[in-house]
Amino acid sequence: MQPLVARITHHSSFITHHSSFIKWIAFSIALTLLLGAILWQFFAPRDDGALVEIQRLGTLRVGLDASFPPFETLDADGQIAGLDVDIAGAIATDLGVEPELVNIGFDGLYDALLARRVDIVISGLPYDPRWTEDVAYTNTYFNAGQILVALTGVSTITAVEDITGHTVAVEWGSQADMEGRRLERELAQVTLLRRSTADEALAALFSGEADAAVVDAVSGVSAFPRGLKIVTYLTDEWYAAAVHIESQKLLEAVNQSLARLEESGEMAKMQARWLHGQ
């Protein structure tokens, strides 16, 4: 056993050593936090105050190309109407402002956003990773990819493999045709029936000329009430709204609004109205 004096000395040394270690740790943590704070100042997403300005002016300027029914088009009265218009209205209401619809050609939508001519683009806009340095996309709200569809209650096709030995209608020359040709290569005995438009391809399905069809989801969903079911998505093309990359608080507010619309069932109702005609 160590003498008492030796033990006290050892203990004291341990405390001294331990204390300097704690100080060193505390200093490191403080330094790290300081560096982090400095870096955050430089690299954190900055907010441009767009949300404050929108609420000050009482208007949300929404860029869209009103030539894409049922998402946005001109109605019989010449007013812009569609699913995106309703979404824009709901978001504006959540922000406590009025929507101002700005009709712009599809290829000019991003430029309008970057030039601050509009606050947000809601226009059946496909998510595109190449734009993410300049714009911030909201959460997605519709998948417009290519879908394999069959008749509800009649067709035994429940998976893509089930089309073996069947006839599949597609729009000649389209992305659906590309997918159809891929299925033709990968699966045995698939016969493609090519029609001039997506509507004609769906008509071939309803008339019994084809057992299934591949169409884009925008064309396909409008035929759901006539007894159509999605067997599977063959490709994805997600639609989202977009704001300027610096409009971070606006992005947050719009995402909250979209989440509320999803959770409350309002989004489903709007989609049923515009996409399914219900």
């Binding site: 190309d65 030539s67 894409f68 050609g105 599809f106 290829d107 595109d128 190449r130 734009w131 729009e171 000649w172 020359g173 389209s174 045709d177 590309m178 040709r181 493609l192 029936l193 090519r194 029609r195 001039s196 438009t197 884009d216």
Partner: protein
């Protein structure tokens, strides 16, 4: 013998051995990049294009394609589609980055591979390097005092490729301000450019055809800042003597939303506007001047206002190739565009025949059937 070499090496002083090892490593280092170089893609056996329409062509976009295997694959697929002609762009700025210093490595790749696939190249020349223009000017601006420098490039290009590239296009759409250095368009000035480079090309190879730059089909009103009506511009070119300093004329023939056989009319931009261009040449005494369609076609973007349905695009394109074949004064017709190196993510992607990852679009497969003399469309399939 090896043992003798090793013994000699051991007998050598330490410094000599070290120097020898360093020299060996340097030699190896020289060969490593050569072995790994993508330029080692083999040309492959000589091919020929089998086609039912020998005037079929397509505009490739290999200017920005850096990987040799992709250049080769592109040209293989063009041949397999049945197109014996391509139009390709060879920017002056890329070939002559410094005055008098020519880098032909990329153009060699394109022309060697095209040649091996049995494809004839029509070369478009333009794009002013920074050293030949004011700092803040556009690459389409050629200062008058630099025309002779451009002539140097044209002569050097024809000197190198004249035996394999039968025709060169001087400039692009000079009737648009953006293609004329954002200056007011100037048919007489463009004719002076043609007159300056024509003898330079002929000095390098008298058989090379010098084609007048294709004009943008436009109905721009008189005094427009954007450009000049193509028919008006061509008439002024011919009045300025352009007919004597070009062997042929390149033409851009876009159909927009009209079918290929939509009748020509001066107030309409459609594919058969090409016939009006030919008629203008006839009216000015140049009826024998050949026309090369170096861009044209249709777009099938689902949302672009000038687009058509994918099925219409296929039918229009086939009909356009048939029209080109039937026009005796048209020597070849290249549709825009075969493939982009990467997606444009705009309506422009819907002009292409093949995706950036070389997946053939239905239009590619249908044109391939056409070139093989097979029936296209959904009948019977």
């Amino acid at each position: 013998m090896i043992k003798k070499m090793v013994d000699t090496l051991h007998a050598a002083p330490y410094s000599s051995r070290a120097a020898l090892i360093v020299a060996c490593l340097l030699i190896i280092a020289l060969f490593i990049p050569a072995a790994a170089s993508p330029r080692q893609i083999k040309l492959g056996p000589q091919q020929t294009v089998v086609t039912a329409n020998p005037k079929m062509g397509i505009h490739t976009r290999l200017t920005d394609e850096v990987e040799p295997w992709k250049i080769k694959r592109t040209l293989e697929m063009v041949r397999e589609m049945g197109a014996p002609w391509i139009v390709e762009y060879f920017p002056w700025a890329y070939r002559e980055p410094f005055p008098g210093f020519f880098d032909w490595s990329h153009s060699d790749l394109v022309i060697n591979h095209a040649d091996r696939q049995g494809i004839t190249v029509i070369a478009r020349l333009g794009f002013v390097p920074q050293w030949a223009r004011p700092y803040d000017s556009a690459s389409s601006y050629l200062p008058p005092e630099r025309i002779s420098d451009f002539g140097d490039y044209v002569q050097a290009f024809v000197d190198r490729y004249g035996d394999r590239v039968p025709a060169i296009i001087i400039w692009n759409e000079p009737n648009l301000a953006l293609e004329w250095g954002f200056q007011p368009v100037d048919p007489e000035g463009y004719t002076q450019l043609l007159a300056a480079v024509y003898p330079r090309a002929k000095a390098a190879n008298s058989n090379t055809l010098v084609l007048g730059g294709a004009l943008a089909p436009t109905l721009a009103p008189p005094g427009s800042e954007q450009g000049m009506n193509d028919l008006v511009y061509l008439q002024r070119m011919l009045d300025a003597g352009a007919g004597e300093v070009m062997d042929g004329l390149s033409v851009h023939a876009y159909g927009w939303s009209f079918p290929a056989d939509d009748p020509p009319h001066p107030e309409v931009i459609n594919f058969r506007r090409t016939e009006l261009v030919h008629q203008l040449l006839v009216d000015n005494g140049y009826g024998d001047m050949p026309i090369y369609i170096t861009e044209g076609g249709w777009n099938d973007h689902p949302r672009w206002t000038r687009a058509v349905k994918p099925a219409q695009r296929i039918q229009n394109t086939v009909q356009a190739y048939e029209l080109i074949e039937s026009w005796p004064w048209a020597k070849a017709g290249a549709i825009w565009a075969f493939r982009y190196p990467w997606p444009a993510r705009t309506y422009l992607d819907y002009f292409t025949f093949v995706t950036p990852d070389f997946e053939p679009k239905p239009i590619y497969l249908e044109i391939q059937r056409y070139s093989r003399g097979e029936e296209i469309g959904d009948n019977g399939r």
